[in-house]
């Protein structure tokens, strides 16, 4: 099999490199599609996810949750629950040993609600029993008396100060204000102005592995927790506070993580399982079912954006004005950072000198919202990319051409005043997509006269009840941009230990870090780097736990950069020591030597001089490295200016859709993506990230919405909350560009989030192209596509090509 990737960098911009995979010689090092070390266990069914953990004699925990979005707790009676045979204990707020508030950025969420509940689904009590069903029955038997209050569920009302404060400081979690240039004075120079409002719904991360953990008391007052997480060190900080323990008494080990996508940044079972285990002196397992999972993690913030763009007739942007509001729900989680991130990129990946952005994250009595893949940039990208297509329409300009005219480049100044200092191959991504051949009209579809259509090729698939008489095709493009790594002045770092020893006569490298493997493949990368740096084939990646230093979160598309950087640098120290030892032994300067094939070699000839086994004997060479990225600064409160970011990453999509305008059904025919990744550390895994992120963007465009009425989630199940199936997801045409980043290990850039940004607006722009409808909100529903099409005059008539 042959895969291609575009090589980047000065002087090599359009060169194509070809990676040929030889199945007999598995690729191992950096830049090759090494098999991930956990894959064999996963296909065998032997990989232990958090929900698979067990210990003899363990108890099962379950959670009492509030049925009301806003209420006072008048009393809690656990006596009936305790009478059930097999129930060990029921704990409430009064039993929280330490601080009854936790949170990633701001400790404002009770471990167990005390006196007041702020969303429907909030944890009020926890029970432990000898069977999970018994624990659930205990939960049902807990009597909580509430005084029900009127919930505040409208974010605009929250912003306006109505509905009463949900938190003592009021209902605005953060306001972000960015001012660049002077929109007021340049407005008259705009020859074309468009305005629009765009909404995005509540998306659930919908990782398949439920929240789960196993807490084991150590008999000395401390606890070990095995849990699915994105960031075990920050979990530990919060858990220790909740338990009133020194952090050294709380040890976390990452168990198998069945997907995360941001939804495992906040705590779920963590403190509850530990409380129950410490109280009972027995191991306690908690594992949510799917319904509880919808309440057990944060969702993507729903957004409302108003965008005004002013441009010259040439398409050149004169100004961009954005107001956007995110509903953060009942607790802060990461809302202040998500709104900042949405605002950073609210003007898109475009050069524009005059910008006004006002963003607000507010508290309501809806379930809490926080991190989800893309982290605010998804909502911003949907809005600005919709607005760009509207502007293209007003200008009578090709949407790709409009984007290319305004595309940022290296050196462009962003609305926050920061200059783009890495490669910004936006134009290249767009040109690639524009020049790709379009998929054929439908060779196997309606076929021709006298042939029945192949229903599988029609919108709605075999559920289609027309014969495809009014199917129109559309093509849409979108471009996304996001910062990589922690921004805004955070000292972001990761720690890794690399040790090399001789086992059974052969060199073995052990890599140890706390980086959370959530499916993205950091375990593979951690094994690839020592193979390249130390020339040793056998690399073992130890399980992540808190006995080593912090790795930071598997979030912000940062882990390969940060932990990869730490592993590379630790390998460098090991290599230096090995070469110095070899230099003494061989009487050669270390500069003349290199590591390859499990030996120290002559650098020039590659001839082995001494094997690592001979050099080390029974000794181990070990190094620890703490990798920090360059310092950043927060944006200021007045004008939102500051060099807040270390790097930016870019992706673009082209979507081709068929819409049945009679039924409002959509078939995404093809999704093409182009993304710059700096360096594809593991090309197959990079493709997997782009394909998976693209599918999640499709979900937000067409299928996925947590429906909330008066603060109540109406569809907490996979029957009613629809994530894309294999039938919903089209063939993808992925092009990977490698423009080396100047400031990162191997020139890599973050990969995971950018494809989730532009997928959604590319699909909706394609729907707009097909139907001529405005389609302000996602997910687009069938009713949105049929309500006016074909029944409301020429301006609403489909303008796409008939297939």
């Amino acid at each position: 099999m042959t895969r291609t990737a575009r090589a980047g960098g000065a002087g090599a911009r359009s060169q194509t490199i070809t990676e040929v995979r030889d199945r007999t010689a598995p690729p191992l090092g950096v830049g090759e599609s090494a098999v991930r070390p956990d894959a064999p266990l996963k296909v065998l069914g032997r990989f232990a996810f958090a929900s698979d953990l067990y210990l003899d004699g363990m108890l099962w925990g379950a959670t009492v949750r509030s049925p009301h979005p806003r209420a006072r707790i008048l009393s809690i009676d656990v006596s009936e629950a305790l009478k059930i045979r097999g129930v060990a204990t029921v704990l409430t707020a009064a039993d929280v040993p330490g601080e009854n508030l936790y949170g990633i950025k701001k400790a404002d969420q009770p471990v167990l609600a005390d006196r007041e509940v702020r969303y429907a689904g909030e944890a009020v009590a926890v029970a432990a029993a000898d069977h999970p069903e018994t624990a659930r029955r205990a939960v049902e038997a807990v009597r909580v008396e509430y005084e029900v209050l009127t919930p505040l569920t409208d974010p605009e009302q929250a912003l306006a100060g109505g509905g009463g404060p949900i938190h003592p400081g009021g209902n605005v979690a953060r306001r972000v204000r960015i001012r660049h240039g002077d929109v007021g004075s340049v407005r008259p120079q705009a020859e074309v102005v468009v305005e629009g409002e765009y909404r995005s719904g509540v998306q659930d991360p919908a990782f398949l592995g439920p929240e789960a953990g196993l807490a084991v008391p150590d008999g000395s007052g401390g606890v070990d927790l095995y849990v699915a997480s994105q960031w075990i060190h920050d979990d530990r900080r919060q858990i220790a506070a909740g338990l009133g323990l020194d952090p050294s008494m709380v040890r976390l080990t990452l168990s198998g993580v069945g997907g995360a996508f941001g939804g495992r940044e906040d705590l779920s079972v963590h403190i509850h399982a530990c409380m129950l285990a410490l109280r009972m002196g027995r191991p306690v397992k908690m594992s949510y079912n799917r319904e509880e999972s919808f309440f057990g993690h944060v969702h993507r913030h729903p957004s409302r954006s108003r965008i005004e763009l002013g441009a010259k007739r040439t398409g050149e942007l004169v100004y961009t004005k954005v107001r956007l509001i995110l509903d953060g729900g009942a607790y802060t989680s990461t809302s202040q950072i998500v709104i900042a991130n949405a605002c950073y990129f609210a003007a898109g990946a475009y050069r524009v000198d005059n910008v006004e952005i006002d963003g607000y994250a507010v508290y309501t009595n809806n379930p809490p919202r926080g991190a989800m893949r893309g982290f605010g940039a998804v909502q911003a990208c949907y809005a600005i990319e919709s607005a760009m297509d509207r502007l293209a329409g007003a200008l009578g300009m090709d949407p790709v051409e409009l984007r290319i005219v305004n595309a940022i480049e290296e050196g462009s100044i962003l609305p926050t005043g920061q200059a783009v200092d890495g490669p910004a191959p936006v134009r290249e991504l767009l040109e690639h997509l524009r020049d790709l051949p379009l998929p054929p009209d439908e060779p196997d579809g309606s076929g021709g006269p006298g042939r029945a259509p192949d229903l599988r090729r029609l919108p709605g698939g075999v559920g289609n009840t027309t014969r495809g008489e009014n199917v129109v095709r559309g093509v849409g493009y979108a471009l996304g941009m996001k910062a990589i790594g922690f921004s805004g002045g955070v000292d972001d770092y990761s720690t890794a230990r690399v040790s090399l020893s001789i086992v059974g006569g052969a060199p073995l490298v052990e890599v140890y870090s706390a980086a959370a493997e959530c499916g993205q493949g950091i375990v593979a990368v951690q094994a690839q780097i020592p193979r390249t740096e130390l020339g040793v084939d056998t690399v073992v990646v130890r399980p992540a736990d808190t006995l080593i230093g912090d790795a930071g979160s598997s979030a912000a598309s940062r882990q390969t950069w940060m932990t990869g950087g730490a592993v590379q640098a630790a390998c460098g120290r090991v290599r230096t020591e090995l070469l110095e030892r070899a230099a003494v032994r061989l009487g050669r300067p270390p500069e003349d030597l290199a590591l390859a094939g499990g030996a120290v070699c002559e650098r020039v000839s590659g001839e082995p001089a001494v094997t690592l086994a001979e050099l080390l004997g029974g000794e181990t060479v070990e190094a620890v490295f703490e990798y920090h990225h360059r310092p950043t600064e927060p944006i200021d409160d007045v004008n939102g200016q500051g060099d807040a970011h270390i790097a930016f990453a870019y992706a673009a999509h082209r979507a081709v859709v068929d819409v049945d305008t009679d039924l409002g059904l959509v078939r995404v025919v093809e999704l093409a993506a182009a993304q710059d990744v700096g360096k594809a550390m593991n090309p197959q895994a990079v493709e997997g990230q782009i394909e998976g992120g693209t599918a999640q963007g499709l979900g937000l465009a067409l299928l996925e919405e947590v429906q909330i009425v008066d603060g109540h989630v109406r569809n907490p199940s996979f029957t009613d909350y629809l994530i894309p199936t294999i039938l919903d997801t089209p063939p993808m045409n992925i092009e990977i560009f490698e423009f080396p980043h100047p400031d990162s290990p191997y020139g890599l850039n973050g990969v995971g989030e950018p494809p989730t940004l532009s997928s959604t607006p590319a699909i909706v722009n394609a729907l707009r192209d097909a139907t001529g409808l405005e389609l302000p909100g996602v997910p687009v529903r069938s009713a949105d596509l049929v309500s006016r099409a074909g029944s409301n005059g020429a301006d609403q008539a489909p303008r796409g090509r008939r297939t």
Binding site: R23, S33, V35, R36, D38, A39, P40, K42, V43, L44, G45, R46, F47, A48, F49, S51, D52, Y54, H131, E133, P205, F207, L208, G209, P210, G256, V257, G258, G259, F261, S287, N289, R290, R456, C518, G519, Q520, G521, Q684, A685, E687, G688, I690, E691, G692, G693, T694, A695, Q696, S717, F718, T719, I723, T725, I726, L727, T729, P731, M732, I734
Partner: protein, 156 residues
């Protein structure tokens, strides 16, 4: 309740089974076979797919009592002699595994597809696997894996 069944060719007995337990619970918690996963527990995600008496079922939708006397094959029963089954190998090689939570169910569903249709078209692959949700991969590499497995198994 006592439930006796054959799992991966071995006679197994689960004692003190509560009437509300599912086949999935019996496999995972009574028999220690945790390869079949519990992502939705209402038959939507396919991650608990197993063979029961030769047919593909969601183990979460089968009550433990229904499985009494049945012959069940789970993901743990595919590999032989310490070697991955060609389908498992194909999922590994093609990068079709990310978080891996959907993988056991998809492998069973792929096994069922290829045993009935050794050379499926892409449309047939999509139709056969439409009951198995994956949140990580976007399905492209899963289709690659099924194609590769079909090829490898046709050579054997």
């Amino acid at each position: 309740m006592l439930v006796e069944l054959t799992v991966n060719g071995r006679r197994r007995t689960a004692e003190n089974v509560w009437a509300g337990e599912s086949l999935l619970y019996v496999l995972r918690e009574r028999l220690g076979l945790r390869g079949s996963k519990n992502a939705c527990e209402q038959g939507e995600c396919g991650s608990c797919s197993v063979y029961m008496d030769g047919g593909l079922v969601c183990a979460c939708l089968v009550s433990a009592g229904q499985a009494h006397g049945a012959e069940v094959v789970t993901v743990e029963g595919l590999a032989e002699g310490g070697r991955l089954h060609p389908i498992q190998q194909a999922y590994v090689v093609e990068g079709a595994v990310q978080c891996g939570f959907c993988t056991p169910g998809l492998i069973i569903a792929t096994h069922q597809l290829l045993s009935e249709n050794p050379d499926p078209s892409d449309d047939e692959i999509r139709e056969a696997l439409a009951g198995n949700l994956c949140r990580c991969t976007g399905y492209e590499k899963i289709i690659d894996a099924v194609r590769l497995a079909a090829l490898e198994m046709s050579v054997i």
